[in-house]
Subunit: 229 residues, 3 copies
């Protein structure tokens, strides 16, 4: 599958199927603690990673200049260390992003201008809404580097999939394999869905389709201990 195929596949099936596929490969990609603030539907695209860091009080730190460099279709991933005291995204960025075809923004921190961002239909996930500018509080420290987001490392070009249940990240090197698993999962789930719509008990349908079997193809049971904190 090409990246475009994978983007389309993940967009069609959403974070649940993508996360289950990662589980089958023993990998965790969920970004815990984020909620959708604006936009609708499922957003998928390669990560354009940014990292912000705090500055000492009184030190000038301009707003980050990055939005013009984000390619169409990308998801802006902003690692702001979970900071709740200032924001790193607002309405002008949303307006530029939607004009230039950026897919969405995922923030380990806060966004502002929530109503304006909703009005233009741009999709943002964050820990909270708040209105205090990041200007002179945090500064852009890295662009296009691996970043730590909500306990998970996101590399540039990893595929981000986000919907009303949150955001999950697929390592680029695994994306094709995840795509294969997603297809298998959604085939099983479609069969189960058809069964239950026809009145078959879910328990029977799951058994019939092997939903609860141990992972196949020699893949061990996922070991997700790292994300239980």
């Amino acid at each position: 599958m090409t990246t475009d195929d994978l983007v389309e596949l993940f967009r069609e099936h959403g974070t649940g199927a993508v996360s289950d596929a990662l589980d089958l490969l023993g990998r965790n990609g969920g970004l815990s603690g984020l909620s959708r603030r604006s936009g609708t539907g499922t957003v998928v695209g390669p990560a354009y990673t940014l990292r912000f860091e705090p500055v000492a009080a009184g030190v000038p730190a301009p707003a980050g200049e990055f939005i013009d460099d984000v390619p169409p279709g990308a998801v802006v991933v902003i690692a702001n260390g979970g900071r709740l005291y200032c924001t790193v995204w607002g309405d002008i960025l949303s307006e530029v992003a939607i004009r230039t075809g950026v897919a969405g923004t995922v923030i380990d921190g806060c966004c502002r201008d929530v109503a304006e961002t909703r009005a233009v239909g741009y999709s943002v996930w964050s820990r909270a809404g708040y209105m205090k500018s990041g200007k002179n509080r945090v500064r852009l420290a890295a662009v296009g580097q691996p970043v730590e987001m909500c306990g998970t490392v996101v590399e540039p070009g990893d595929l981000v999939c986000a919907d009303d249940s949150g955001a999950v990240v697929v390592p680029a090197a695994l994306a094709s394999e995840v795509g294969t698993q997603v297809r298998r999962i959604v085939t099983i789930e479609a069969a189960i869905r058809a069964d239950v719509a026809a009145g078959v008990p879910l328990r029977d349908s799951r058994r019939r389709h092997g939903y609860n079997l141990a992972p196949r193809d020699g893949v061990a049971v996922p070991v997700p201990s790292a994300d239980r904190s």
Copy 2:
């Protein structure tokens, strides 16, 4: 009042009146920390209780098989210890639940497939949305037993009432008495509402209707210390 009458009464008046009635009896039923993720209106029904527990990493733990056994009208109550790292409810469960007339689901933990669950109009309350499956992370440990939810014990058959302000639980043995108090409370509140709509100051109306008197009928002032943590 029959259970059906109580369900109807609580559904008409919502969590506020039910909680106030519990207060008059010196009992607390609020499930703190839960927010509505999907559905509309007030949901009321007897609790169908489930408890999940974590499994050691790498231990197979299939998805819980319970939805086929939930009777129509019940509220699924899932005690998952407030865990935020995995979910115990998703879209196929929502589809089965709405097909079989289950009233709603209340989770001390997370749910996924939030958009799909909204689309079918099924009501879920939880601590957060997230997408990682509970499969191989937690397992169904008890069905139809008393469970601890958000600091409160819920017994099978207790009446759960949930709306946009959260979820509250009425012990089955108290349900009838709570119903009597709800009727008294809503009668007073309707009178106050009519007064203020006619321009009477709320202070005067409350005094006229004894809103702020100590609880009547020999019931002492509620002692809600246990739920202040």
Copy 3:
């Protein structure tokens, strides 16, 4: 500018511009941790401050009697110490407030009757929704006094501005100066907005309009250390 002019100006431009203006003056007004529960648009008005305090279990503490005294246009500011175990606002208060022209309510704590409050179109911000009454749990301890809200002190008559991104407070003595800064900020932002709508890179537009210059008029870089907790 008169207070009415300032109210209108802040309502037009929202919490982002007001917060940026406070930043230019080295003052912080954001009320961290609050989310909108009901209502739409931007709400602005002078603070009508209330403080609640807990009572010992079993001590009678009637519901607070204050709503009749709140002047039209004011924002009710309820300092309830961030308590999540009981509420201090419900539907009858919302009905009175919208009838008498109260602008909105901001609570460092919880509100209830969220659906009913939404139905009448009244605007409330809080930490969460919950249904347990504050009656006999907390009591009204002060009216019209300076109160501590979410780590910030709010004085009676301070201008509160709240929208979908949260709530920010402008000290009355600074309101006029904040108004002047808001006008300057929105003029620059309107120019930037026009540029980016015409396809100018944001980076170039920001430079052209001096967006990222250090604050002018001899005002030092904001020192927001106090609100980083």
